[in-house]
Structure formats: structure tokens, C-alpha cells
Amino acid sequence: MPEGLEQSAIAERDVDLKVIDRVSNEVLETMFFTEAIATGCDHSWFSTAVTARIAFAGSHAGEFLLSVSREAARAIASGFLGLAEEETTENDCGQVILELSNILCGAVLSNRWPESRLSLATPELGGCGCANEGALHRCFTLPVGALALTICAADAAVSRG
């Protein structure tokens, strides 16, 4: 890739990651009462994670994936629902993570592309949380557990190979 374009690609990715960091923190702190610190990736917890995926289309198209470690999912769910962790069921965790993914996806995309028209599909549980080459991927550490966010785009403006 010519140097000028490469610099531009790096700068774009930097903006993408800054938006993801800022918006993720805002979402988690506002409605889920926890903070998250962007960190280097450690995917050892992926095999037991609660994962949600949302397809999006419109002026940008692709897929948003959220993976949350089991203990983080329980802490997040109990916080959101106003319950003790012992009172929070597996189904509660799944439903809250679905809603978290919905809010995160909507917030990240509309902050990154505020002038765009986007439609989000209904979030679904399940799927692989691993980062594909070219995808935007960010891992976070929470006070309890971890979380990872991936945006895989059909749109070249998002995905940088």
C-alpha cells in the first residue's frame, strides 16, 4: 500500500479504536455500573464466554460481536437487573448480554458514523468471538472478568487488511 494511504489507514483505525474505547466505557458505566480498561488481548476465556452477534446494514455493513467472560456476564447482569449475583440466572445473563451488545453496537456505530443510515438486526447469542484478519477488535479488562468487541465489516472503510 502506498505510504500516504497506509498512514491514512492507520489514522482511521486509531479513530475507530478511540471511539470504541470511549463509547464502551460510557455504555458500561451508565447502565451496567462497571468500568472497563482497554488491554492487550488474552483470549483464554473465549471457549466459555457468553457471545452475542448483530448484523448491520445500510451505509456501512458487517457484523458486530461481543464476547463476555462468564464471571463478567454474571456481574454485569446482576448490576443491570438490580439483583444479587446469586439471584441471577443463566437466562438473565444471556438476555442482558444481548441487550448490552445491542446498545454497544448502536452506540459505537452511530458515534463513529453520525451522519449514516444504519439498520441493526436482532442480536443473537452464540458465535465465535475471535478476531478475523482485518476486523476491528478490542479487549477490555473489567473489575471481574473480561470482554471483547469485534467489528467485521464488508465495508472497506471499517475493515483494514
Binding site: 458505566e29 455500573f33 468500568e35 480498561i37 439483583l83 479488562t141
Partner: protein, 176 residues
């Protein structure tokens, strides 16, 4: 009428219905002050806690429950309800949670303390009327038991009354 200050120290809590008194706490850096007041029975309480979760040190929490958000807020609510307060009537305000220099720099304790208060109050079914939190300033706060009014001083600034929030949700409509 001379007002009598009832000082709440660090990791401390006081509940009173002495209407000639003022609950006051100083040096709120990363700590959080939780003020609760029931105007129907004129009873108020002020908690000053240091850390978000008692699970961090269960032994310390046994010795002093007011050091932690979870045990401290629970005790505060208990003491107020034992004194005739009803949670649904109470005005609850927060102050503190500033970012202070942290050599580890990983999780800012001020923010964690603030999030802990919000999470615990949500779980207890209590909404927050007003708050003066965050930033990098140390705060002092006082709660007047005759009226339930609360004031905050931030850094070297003039003291201001902590009023109920208005205008939070207008932001979106105004932005467009």
C-alpha cells in the same frame, strides 16, 4: 439558632434527627459521601466510604463496615429506616469520587467507588437526586438536618448548594 456540626470522619457514618445539627465530612478525594434525608421525619445520614467492595477485605469490613460501599450503604439505610425513614421518601445525593494519583493506574478507585454507589443504590431501589463527583478536586460536604439541604465545596472554590438535577435529558433534543 446555632448549628452544631456533627463531623463524619473517613470510613465513618452518622445518622441524626437533631434539627439544630449539620452533618459534615471533609477530604473527599477518591472517597464517596452518601447523604440521605427523609423530609417527612427530618432524619438524615451521611456516610463517607473509601473502597467499593467489602469482598476486598472481609476482616476489615467486619471491624468497620463504613469503609466499604456495600456494607456502608446497607448500614446507613438500616439506621435510617430504624429511625422512621422510608427509602421511597428519601432524597439521596453523592459527593466525591475524584481521580487521585495512582501508581498502578489501572482502575481508578474514585470512579470505582462512584460506580459502586450507583450500582448498590439501584439494587436497593433508590434513585439519586443530585451528585458532585469525579474530576480531580478534593471536596467537603455538609447536610443540614433542619431542611435536608446539602452543600459542597470543591477545591478552593466557593461552596455551592447541591440541587436536584434538571436538564440531563434535554441534551439530545438540543443537540439536533
Amino acid at each position: 439558632m446555632a448549628v452544631k456540626p456533627l463531623v463524619v470522619g473517613i470510613s465513618d457514618c452518622k445518622v441524626s434527627r437533631e434539627i439544630d445539627s449539620m452533618l459534615v465530612t471533609y477530604a473527599l478525594g477518591s472517597c464517596i459521601a452518601v447523604a440521605m434525608y427523609d423530609p417527612a421525619v427530618k432524619i438524615g445520614g451521611l456516610l463517607h466510604y473509601m473502597l467499593p467492595e467489602s469482598s476486598l477485605d472481609a476482616a476489615k469490613a467486619q471491624q468497620n463496615p463504613f469503609m466499604f460501599a456495600d456494607t456502608g450503604i446497607a448500614r446507613l439505610i438500616e439506621a435510617l429506616t430504624a429511625g422512621g425513614a422510608m427509602p421511597r421518601r428519601m432524597t439521596v445525593r453523592l459527593a466525591g469520587g475524584a481521580q487521585v494519583l495512582d501508581s498502578e493506574g489501572v482502575f481508578q478507585i474514585g470512579k470505582r467507588n462512584y460506580l459502586a454507589a450507583r450500582r448498590i443504590l439501584w439494587k436497593a431501589g433508590i434513585l439519586i437526586a443530585a451528585e458532585a463527583v469525579g474530576g480531580e478536586v478534593s471536596r467537603t460536604t455538609r447536610l443540614e438536618l433542619a431542611t435536608g439541604r446539602m452543600w459542597v465545596r470543591e477545591g478552593g472554590d466557593v461552596e455551592r448548594e447541591l440541587m436536584e438535577h434538571r436538564g440531563l435529558a434535554k441534551k439530545v433534543m438540543e443537540r439536533v
